[in-house]
């Protein structure tokens, strides 16, 4: 095997992007994943454990890990941190009572050493609900402007209508690619 072959192999491998999707329970993580993948979203049960999906998108191989958000599962999130290129944090924009919980969980995640260097995309989900907060409100409440440790962006979205899901994923891939795949 020549050097070129090795390099090619590495490059192929590096076109793989590992995305970790977290957030409080009822945020809509699984629904986002399934909607993005074009699957039926009407039969989704609360996630006991996790879902993994491998998607092809714009020539990238996306390994998306969707881990359940119930309180009893959150202590297991750490098992999925390794090798994460991008973190997608999903927020139920209509769940005003738990936004402080949401903020705390997010900020303690960002202290994680193994997530250092990953790109953060915040989805202000459930924009289809009339009572949902705008992404602007969520940005303030979650104190995103104080995040200096990660590249981040917040986008309003709706897993039900599909609004902005593609834009969000495109952004996170672009950001990751500009950091990692400099060879192109």
């Amino acid at each position: 095997m020549g050097l070129l072959t090795i390099l090619k192999k590495m490059k192929q491998k590096e076109k793989e992007v590992r995305l970790l999707m977290l957030g409080l329970d009822n945020a809509g993580k699984t629904t986002i994943l399934k909607k993005f993948n074009g699957e039926d979203i009407n039969t989704i049960s609360p996630t006991l454990g996790f879902n993994i999906k491998t998607l092809e998108h714009r020539g990238f191989k996306l390994n998306v890990w969707d881990v359940g958000g119930q309180r009893s599962l959150r202590s297991y999130w750490r098992n999925y941190f390794e090798c994460t290129d991008g973190l997608i944090w999903v927020v139920d924009s209509a769940d005003r009572m738990r936004l402080q919980d949401c903020k705390q969980e997010l900020h303690s995640l960002l202290l994680e050493e193994r997530l250092a260097g990953s790109t953060l995309l915040v989805f202000a989900n459930k924009q289809d609900l009339p009572g949902s907060l705008s992404s602007e409100d969520i940005r303030k409440t979650l104190d995103l402007d104080n995040i200096k440790s990660h590249h981040w962006r917040i986008l309003p979205c709706s897993a039900v209508t599909g609004e902005n899901l593609l834009d969000g994923v495109d952004w996170i891939i672009d950001d990751i690619a500009s950091r990692i795949f400099t060879m192109d």
Binding site: P46, L48, S72, S75, G131
Partner: protein, 318 residues
């Protein structure tokens, strides 16, 4: 390029090295180290919690936030230790941490009662600007008489009511999200098909609701009866409560006990139309298939939930 390869390789080697060291450390020593550290931290947090009463209001916020962070760290410490700890030790440690969590929560509620609506008061106290301050004062005014006034918290809601019969009709709630919070001794009837419902802190209430196209999230309820149909149902920290449900996916409970389930049996003129609007499958009802997130054993039934015996099921007026 080669530099990057080299770096990767170094990192990998370092990782392997670290893991090796981890494995070689004798497990007993780790356990002792764990117990010493955890009990020390628990003692310290406990002491700080009991010291809270002597602080001023402004100090309290930081004080409690700091304690919460420390508690979380302790929890993380524990979850990392689950790799080598015997299961008895894990459950012991979990228990003392959750006790501490409750103690902290109680103290917080006692000293900063407004804090319950953490989202608003926090925002105001951080002085995020005039606009949010205005909002929160307006919200305070609304807390006293929420009915028939425009909502600030959500489009449709009932908050802070006691001993009332409340209802909303389809024109108010169809395809909207509804919030119910801090109700006592109330009967709530929601005629129509909302998109989602968030329920917090109800006591001795009866809640009736038409078909919900999305999810219902319930937290901290006691001695209630819910008659609901929806796609997803999540029940947290709830006790002594009965659920008459139509759920097309699977309902879950967490940190709950003494909850019972029966099939959905509310009927009112127009409900068939609302079922159509919600898109729920009427033929598909998993009312008796509940996941308990605190009970992962497959070979034994969770002690936290059961079914209402057919002869004990109640019937309701529209």
């Amino acid at each position: 390029m080669t530099e990057r390869l080299q770096k990767r390789d170094d990192k990998r080697k370092l990782n392997i090295e670290n893991k090796k060291e981890d494995r070689e450390a004798p497990i007993r020593e780790k356990c002792e180290h764990f117990h010493d550290n955890l009990s020390k931290e628990i003692d310290e947090i406990e002491r700080d919690v009991s010291r809270s009463s002597s602080l001023t209001k402004t100090e309290l916020i930081d004080h409690f936030d700091g304690l919460t962070v420390r508690l979380q760290k302790a929890q993380k410490f524990l979850s990392e230790a689950t790799l080598f700890l015997p299961s008895y030790d894990i459950s012991k440690a979990t228990e003392s941490l959750s006790k501490l969590q409750n103690m902290l929560q109680d103290k917080r509620n006692e000293l900063m009662p407004k804090k319950k609506f953490a989202f608003k008061s926090k925002k105001a106290s951080e002085g995020d600007g005039k606009k949010t301050k205005n909002l929160s004062t307006k919200d305070d005014a609304h807390k006293k008489s929420t009915k028939n006034e425009p909502c600030i918290l959500a489009d449709c809601k009932f908050v802070d009511e006691d001993g009332k019969n409340l209802s909303m009709d389809p024109s108010q709630i169809n395809q909207k999200d509804v919030a119910l919070a801090r109700l006592k001794h109330c009967v709530v009837k929601l005629y129509g098909s909302p998109s989602a419902i968030h329920v917090n802190e109800l006591e001795d209430c009866k809640i009736f609701c038409g078909p919900v196209s999305g999810s219902i999230f319930i937290r901290e309820c006691k001695n209630c009866v819910f008659i609901l149909s929806c796609q997803q149902l999540r029940i947290h920290t709830t006790e002594f409560t009965n659920f008459y449900i139509h759920v097309t996916s699977k309902a879950i409970i967490e940190d709950s006990h003494d909850v019972q389930f029966a099939p959905y049996n509310w009927n009112y003129p127009g409900i068939a139309e609302h079922f159509k609007l919600s898109g729920l499958d009427k033929e598909r009802n998993n009312w008796d298939d509940i996941d308990d997130f605190n009970w992962l054993a497959v070979d034994a039934h969770s002690p936290n939930w059961s079914l209402v015996a057919p002869e004990q099921r109640k019937n309701w007026d529209p």
